[in-house]
């Protein structure tokens, strides 16, 4: 186990132009991705975006129709799962019900004909790593979801794989436990120095744990970057909408550093577009300042105010576009509000296939957004 923290730049896995179809439906469309040693990389996206299929291709359960899977410089497309130096933590754990905790964890070592003495040492090492000391003789079916999850992680990590694949490992846990496990997974990754490839549809989970986030939609990669980059500089409307809350408006890039939207001209920090190119403009709700009306860049009517604990979520109708603003100021429904946006808070994006799909907050509902998060992806 290494002590070093963070990823280095050595490529471990390369996916080159990977495509895959099931029953005539294209699940992956020419994916290209580099995964580095010691990286915590997260494949993030909604149901059916292809993230689980990508993971299963790396594990060897799915063979790509086209493209190459390269592991440490060698093409491994046809290498069966049991010969790959990767291990998987499955969504519903897939622990062996006929074996106790000890034997579940020792499973891989027994196959490798490891001496009993060494198995005993390494299993107890693993049990400490996942905080399950004293559980050796327990029946896995008698464990809680969180404990089963830990056994599944120990069972995979004990083999000292180069890569650990995690398929929505926290999906079945309740919120509190999920938060704890996020912290623990991050710790385990740091302690072991193993590359983690993590699949989730939970953007918060992705942002808080990862070195690198890969946002996927419709079988394609939309953006690869650090959590900060993904959040602050989304490359298209899909990424902006999927990660956090966003106001996405149509705009025109008049010239470098000058963009117009909402019938006003704003200074921004973006450049490199064609003159008068149509663009999507993203402004995060927490980046909008409420100012006195005489200093306002835009003004509108407050249509809804929701108390969120540490802030208010305010919906403002500005020229029939509903903006979301997060503020600690108290405002009233019906009030006319003046707002101001600083140049560095404006993110200009090229038009994409997702432009116009994510509009304003006129039909916004927390409940519907929550429902759409429920993961139902077929794991083929």
């Amino acid at each position: 186990m290494g002590e070093s923290v963070g990823m280095n730049n050595e490529k471990l896995i390369e996916l080159r132009n990977i495509s895959k179809s099931f029953d005539g439906e294209q699940i992956l469309k020419s994916i290209n991705l580099d995964i580095h040693k010691k990286e915590f990389i997260t494949l993030l996206g909604p149901s059916g975006c292809g993230k689980t299929t990508t993971l299963r291709i790396i594990a060897g359960f799915v063979t790509p129709d086209e493209g190459e899977v390269i592991f440490e410089g060698k093409k491994i497309n046809d290498l069966p799962p049991h010969k790959r130096n990767v291990n998987t933590v499955f969504q519903r754990y897939a622990l062996f019900p006929h074996l106790n905790v000890y034997e579940n964890i020792a499973f891989g070592l027994r196959l490798a004909k490891t001496p009993d003495e060494e198995i005993r040492t390494r299993v107890s090492e693993m049990l400490s790593l996942v905080n399950l000391r004293g559980f050796e003789k327990r029946d896995v079916t008698s464990l809680s979801g969180g404990q089963q999850q830990r056994v599944a992680i120990a069972r995979a990590l004990i083999n000292r794989p180069e890569v650990l694949l995690l398929d929505e490992p926290l999906g079945a846990l309740d919120l509190k436990l999920r938060k704890d496990m996020q912290v623990e997974l991050k710790r385990m990754q740091r302690e072991t120095g193993i590359t983690f490839i993590y699949v989730t549809h939970d953007q918060e989970e992705a942002l808080s744990m990862s070195d690198t986030v890969v946002v996927m939609a419709n079988g394609s990669i939309q953006q690869i970057g650090t959590p900060e980059k993904i959040y602050n500089e989304p490359e298209n409307a899909f990424v902006a909408d999927f990660i956090g809350e966003s106001n996405i408006v149509n705009g025109t890039m008049i010239k470098d550093y000058t963009v117009s939207f909402a019938k006003q001209v704003f200074t921004c920090e973006d450049a490199g577009f064609e003159p008068n190119e149509p663009v999507d403009v993203v402004v995060r709700p927490e980046d909008i300042d409420i100012v006195p009306l005489d200093k306002a860049m835009l003004t509108g009517q407050v249509t809804a105010v929701t108390f969120k604990g540490d802030y208010y979520e305010v919906i403002v109708d500005i020229d029939h576009f509903k903006w979301m603003i997060e503020t600690t100021d108290r405002v009233e429904v019906g009030q006319t509000l003046g707002i101001s946006i600083d140049p560095y808070e404006i993110q200009v994006m090229k038009k994409s296939e997702f432009s116009g799909m994510f509009g304003d907050y006129s039909t916004f509902s927390d409940e519907i957004e929550h429902l759409s998060d429920v993961e139902t992806e077929e794991t083929k």
Partner: protein, 278 residues
């Protein structure tokens, strides 16, 4: 809560209770009464003493049915495993094919096997077409033919419970095993097999129990030379004077079945508790 739901439940069970008493408990009592009633009408073990004449039949029944059970397991497990790997559509067709013989009357099936195995039967006529007139494989009226009959009749009872258990095993477990380094064969022995023990146990029980008490098969396929305990019981009950001996034989057979079933169930429980088979 009113006690009414409970009453309703017991009411719903009433037809079954009547059935069980009439057709299961009552015959058992009759068997016991006949088995322990001596010539003078009092309680006696003399019927059991008379069973010494039937030792051969008991031993023969036990050994034939054991062999038939082993053959059923050897054929049935791979068959059930193969079916469990097929697509759902193919599974339905294959299971149908396994069950198809059960739709045909037992006697007709036995006669059909007889016709197949006879010296002038179908199999020999095919062999003669291929290897010449002088070739005759003598199959009918041998212990092999009797065991073949048992295997043929009871194979579905081995395949079905094993298939049911296999098809319920989470396919993710196979993936997990291969992820942890198992080849396909290792997955079979380390995961699939231990998890299907309960199906194997019910398969063995469901083949062994009817095999050991079977009758008629031996009369037709063994030419009456190999008396099985089922046939002996049938014969005893054909003669009113021998009812008591028949009842005693039934009683002993029942004990053998109970003990072997208990042993099998013990094995199942031990295995469910954990531990690796291979």
């Amino acid at each position: 809560m009113t006690p009414r739901p409970k009453n309703r439940r017991s009411l719903a069970a009433a037809p079954h209770m009547v059935w069980a008493i009439l057709f299961i408990v009552a015959p058992l009592i009759f068997v016991a009464v006949y088995a322990f009633r001596g010539q003078n009408g009092g309680f006696s073990f003399e019927n059991f003493a008379a069973l010494g004449d039937y030792t051969d039949a008991f031993v023969r029944s036990a050994s034939y049915s054991l062999i038939a059970t082993v053959i059923c397991l050897v054929i049935g497990y791979p068959l059930a495993y193969a079916i469990s790997l097929a697509s759902p559509k193919a599974q339905r067709v294959l299971i149908m094919m396994v069950m198809l013989p059960m739709w045909i009357n037992f006697l007709i099936r036995t006669y059909a096997i007889m016709k197949l195995l006879e010296d002038t039967g179908f199999v020999n006529s095919v062999l003669q077409k291929i290897f010449g007139e002088e070739v005759t494989l003598h199959m009918i009226n041998t212990p092999g033919a009797v065991i073949f009959g048992m295997v043929y009749d009871y194979l579905p009872y081995m395949v079905l419970p094993i298939f049911t258990v296999l098809s319920k095993i989470d396919p993710k477990l196979g993936e997990a095993a291969s992820d942890l380094g198992c080849s396909k064969i290792q997955t079979l022995f380390r995961v699939t097999l231990p998890l299907s023990v309960s199906g194997v146990v019910s398969g063995i029980t469901m083949v062994f129990v009817p095999s050991i008490s079977t009758f008629y098969i031996s009369q037709k396929l063994g030419g009456g030379q190999y008396l099985l305990i089922g046939d002996a019981i049938e014969r005893a009950f054909g003669n009113p004077e021998k009812y008591s001996v028949g009842a005693a034989m039934s009683f002993v057979l029942m004990l053998i079945v109970l003990v072997s079933t208990a042993i099998m169930n013990r094995f199942d429980r031990d295995n469910a508790k954990g531990g690796v088979v291979v």
